[in-house]
């Protein structure tokens, strides 16, 4: 039930924020903040002291679930509300709520127009994402998969920058069409299961071990894979992302990069591979190659960008390539690495987008050629960019390093060539990161921009994310322990 509460609080907070719009800019954001803080408190309880709020893990034969909630919805089709959270879900929910708070900080001074409706959309996106991370009924999952899309569309279409119509449309159509493919796959899976067992059900647990293989299994699996790979995103279906990111307002970019991309990775780990272990294994070399291509190709494209936000967007795709590689290498290290990369990239990408957005808010351009020498005018901001860039590159001691290192370690056991190429990605990453630092913060301030340095709220947000990354880098075991039972329970399906 607590999972339902997490979502209800956000839904209600969103409606409250919208209704209070007429009271000015202040009230909606305070309501939004309270809703998120309430959620954060609940999540912290769930993480730290689940017993105190009456939670005890249940084992239903498909892993250990800290929370499992079940209730009928549309019995005609065997569709029910099944929400469950295990270690993996919980980590990602924590990431969601935490970054939700950060994005609120990013929006605090930036969104002045129609702020009520903005916070409504923000909170509803977060609620949708939590739904995605906890839904264990395929229909319900698809439902939330789409629900998180609409408010995000509004955020880009209303508060976006100069080319927002195109970007919002592209974002929506890419995700929606790949979603329809997934719906088709879900229905075929359910239908085949119905033919075999005479029970019509959309429950994840019932559909596990369906033993679907062969050509049909491959096609059905591809439906899922394409939907998740679009969201991840992986080359060649990644090109909605740079547009969506560069046009979205800062808070939108933070949520997109920090959270929404993770739903794709989560889908792969939770659904695609466990539901279709056999064909996934056949498909693994292809997926791993796609991962490597994503890493290298988008890193190279990032290098060629002048638009700061587009550059960061391409690096996101590059880093998510590691996740794809890790998931399909499918051994303990690689999976742990993929999860760590998801979490760490959530922090570093969110922070970088927030910095880029802050910069754009101050100087009204994202063109790096016009920037330069900002270290002199905005030292705090420059330090933050340096820190998070270095984190993204994968300097030991920070979370991203742990994740990418583990992915490489794991995939090395599977394919040496692939891993060798993937490791090249780390080198290219250093190159494009240095270019950013050099172009923007060193050199000469040609246009004599006067930049206000970071505000207190921004500093607080960045400080929290720094602590998070350091924690992940120095004590990753705490998170691995949480994700481990989940990964182990799905791991058994893979020989």
């Amino acid at each position: 039930m607590i999972l339902v509460w997490l979502m209800l609080i956000l839904f209600a907070g969103g409606i409250g924020a919208w209704l209070s719009e007429s009271r000015g800019v202040g009230t909606p954001r305070v309501i939004a903040l309270m809703a998120i803080l309430l959620d954060l408190a609940l999540v912290i309880f769930m993480l730290v002291a689940p017993e105190t709020i009456g939670l005890s893990p249940v084992d239903n034969g498909h892993g250990e679930w800290l929370v499992l909630f079940q209730s009928d919805w549309i019995p005609r089709f065997g569709i029910s509300f099944i929400f469950g959270a295990d270690g993996l879900s919980l980590l990602l929910i924590a990431l969601t709520v935490f970054l939700g708070m950060i994005s609120l900080g990013a929006a605090w001074h930036e969104i002045k127009e129609r702020s009520g409706f903005f916070y409504f959309n923000l909170l509803w996106t977060l609620a949708g994402v939590i739904g995605v991370f906890t839904a264990l009924d395929l229909f319900l999952f698809f439902f939330f998969w789409e629900v998180m899309l609409i408010p995000m569309y509004f955020i880009i279409a209303i508060w976006g920058h100069e080319n927002k119509e195109y970007a919002a449309m592209k974002f929506f159509i890419f995700t929606q069409v790949s979603g329809l493919l997934m719906l088709l796959s879900i229905l075929v899976l359910v239908f085949l299961n119905y033919q075999a067992s005479e029970v019509i059900t959309f429950s994840y647990f019932d559909l596990l071990g369906n033993g679907l293989g062969g050509e049909l299994g491959m096609l059905v699996m591809l439906g899922f894979f394409i939907a998740f790979a679009t969201k991840l995103p992986a080359v060649p279906i990644h090109n909605w992302l740079p547009d969506a990111h560069s046009q979205a307002p800062t808070a939108g970019s933070v949520i997109l990069a920090g959270i929404l991309l993770k739903t794709g990775a989560y889908g792969l780990i939770r659904f695609t591979v466990p539901l279709f272990p056999e064909v996934s294994q056949t498909f693994a070399p292809v997926a791993m190659t796609l991962g490597v291509v994503s890493i290298l190709y988008t890193a190279k494209v990032a290098f060629a960008q002048n638009d700061l936000k587009r550059l960061i967007a391409y690096t996101s795709v590059s880093h998510m390539g590691f996740v794809l590689l890790g998931v399909y290498a499918w051994n303990a290290q690689a999976l742990q690495g993929a999860v760590m990369t998801m979490l760490a990239h959530g922090f570093s990408a969110a922070a970088l987008f927030m910095l880029a957005g802050g910069l754009q808010h101050r100087i009204h351009t994202r063109d790096m050629d016009k920037m330069g020498g900002f270290w002199g005018v905005a030292p705090k901001m420059s330090f933050m960019v340096l820190f998070f860039t270095v984190a993204a590159v994968g300097i030991p001691g920070l979370g991203n390093f742990v994740g990418e290192f583990l992915v490489l370690l794991g995939s090395f056991q599977v394919s040496i060539t692939t891993t060798a190429f993937a490791a090249l990605g780390l080198v290219v990453a250093a190159v494009y990161s240095l270019i950013v630092i050099q172009k923007v913060f060193h050199g000469e301030n040609k246009n004599n921009y006067e930049i206000a340095d970071l505000t207190f709220i921004e500093m607080a947000c960045f400080a929290l994310m720094m602590i998070g990354l350091l924690w992940m880098g120095l004590y990753p075991q705490s998170m691995m322990d949480m994700a481990e039972p989940t990964l182990r329970s799905i791991d058994v399906v893979f020989p």
Partner: protein, 466 residues
């Protein structure tokens, strides 16, 4: 209806019409226990026909409420409109209840003839910007042609089988051993072609956009909902109980029409700047989706297809009414605001209207939380069970294109107000009745999208008869 002859007063006639329709809805409660009932040879009442009749009367009720403010500013005589509305509705109900070719034809003609006059209704209005007469003539010619085709088809079938009952067709064909006769297939194809005209399926869709655009908004709403729903009700029953699915030629024609409707309807809708025309093309596409269900009925149990189609029709019915209610709310007979640019910034000028419109558009696009999503889910389910992979691919492509133009309207509504011309449609006061229609439509869309179970229960029980 009689009142209009005695006392020409718009308000009174409108109130009576509305009350009459509401009363006939209430009658349904009493009718329910005595079903199924064969009323004369021509009409058959069961859960299925009752459901569609209810839908039709509900639609007519909404149209009658919407028509009042629309025609109020119209200075000519308005009272006859309601007579036409009622006769058309009667025709539609006859269609929904028919299991016999004679009642099929009578109902169709009653509906069609009333519609000609309804479409041309504001023809005396000098300032009428649209072309109601052109639309009416187009509809008259096309519809007349279609009726002729259907009649010829019926005649051919009758010549072979000697029966006009849907349910006697299959046994008669077997008894006479004429299943392979080319005349039989020709007869069926003529009937299908005529029906396709009425349902505006590609390639018989050419009249649709012009008629939708030219007709007054309440009539467009009526045309899009009641006339389509009643036709669909009888078509599915006809095809199911007369066992027409065994003819390969027929299935091929249906499949091609479905694919072409989904694709062309959506593609042509992309290019429209007029919301009514856009709805016209999108309705062609939606009819294509529905045809997928009908084709799937050939290979899946009749129950599921009846259930799917009923749900989709009901959902489509509500969505269209909601959409036209918004168009109606910002228009009147003197000035129709139906260009996409008229909707610019509506979300900030009149959030309520825009919210209803957004709900409707998302529902038409089949996004979760709305009735349209459950409807599309049904279509997908039927398609998967019938293994119609080609049509499902078309469906996905069509939906993708569809998203684009629905989003375009939504995007226009989200635009800042500053860019809007001085024309401020939201300045017009919206009467209570329209508000009630808007509120009930959006409430039903969301309710069916979030908690469809009660509706599914009803549909399952009525589908059990097949």
């Amino acid at each position: 209806m009689l009142v209009a002859g005695f006392k020409r007063e718009h308000g009174l006639v409108n109130a009576l019409t509305t009350a009459g329709l509401a009363a006939s809805l209430l009658v349904f409660i009493f009718v329910d226990p005595v079903l199924p009932l064969q009323a004369t040879e021509l009409l058959y009442f069961d859960g299925y026909s009752l459901f569609f009749s209810g839908l039709i009367i509900f639609g007519a009720l909404a149209v009658s409420i919407l028509a009042y403010p629309y025609f109020e500013s119209h200075n000519a005589l308005n009272e006859e409109f309601y007579i036409l509305l009622l006769t058309a509705t009667l025709g539609a109900v006859v269609l929904a209840c028919s299991t016999h070719f004679v009642s099929f034809f009578i109902g169709m003609e009653m509906l069609g003839v009333s519609l000609y006059a309804m479409i041309a209704y504001p023809v005396h209005e000098e300032k009428s910007a649209k072309f109601p007469l052109e639309a009416a003539i187009k509809y008259l010619i096309m519809s007349g042609l279609a009726s002729g085709l259907i009649l010829f088809g019926i005649a051919l079938l009758y010549a072979l089988t000697g029966t006009m009952f849907f349910s006697d067709l299959a046994p008669a064909i077997e008894a006479q051993d004429v299943a392979a006769s080319p005349v039989l297939v020709t007869g069926w194809l003529m009937i299908i072609a005529g029906i396709a005209f009425k349902l505006s399926l590609v390639p018989f869709h050419i009249w649709t956009p012009d008629v939708y655009e030219g007709a007054p908004v309440p009539v467009t709403a009526y045309l899009a909902t009641v006339s389509k729903a009643s036709m669909l009700a009888v078509v599915l029953r006809l095809l199911l109980i007369s066992d027409a699915f065994q003819y390969d030629a027929l299935m091929l024609v249906l499949t091609v029409m479905a694919a072409a409707s989904m694709l062309l309807g959506n593609l042509l809708a992309l290019m429209q700047a007029n919301v009514k025309r856009l709805f016209a093309y999108s309705s062609i596409a939606h009819l294509g989706y529905l045809l997928v269900v009908i084709i799937a009925a050939a290979s899946v149990p009749g129950m599921l297809s009846v259930e799917s189609m009923s749900f989709y029709v009901a959902a489509y019915f509500i969505m269209s009414l909601g959409g036209f209610a918004v168009t109606n709310a910002i228009s009147n007979s003197g000035k129709e605001l139906d260009m996409i640019s008229d909707y610019q910034g509506l979300f900030w000028r009149n959030p309520w209207l825009a919210a209803v419109m957004i709900t409707v558009l998302f529902s038409l696009a089949g996004i979760p939380l709305t009735a349209g999503f459950i409807g599309k889910f049904y279509v997908f389910t039927s398609g998967v069970e019938g293994s119609l992979w080609f049509l499902l691919t078309m469906l996905i492509i069509g939906s993708a294109i569809g998203l684009y133009y629905y989003l375009r309207i939504i995007y226009a509504m989200l635009q800042p107000v500053e860019k809007v011309s001085k024309q401020d449609p939201a300045g017009q006061a919206i009467p209570f009745g329209t508000h009630a229609v808007l509120a009930s439509m959006s409430a039903i869309i969301i309710y069916l999208g979030v908690y469809p179970m009660p509706m599914i229960d009803i549909l399952q029980s009525l589908a059990a008869a097949f």
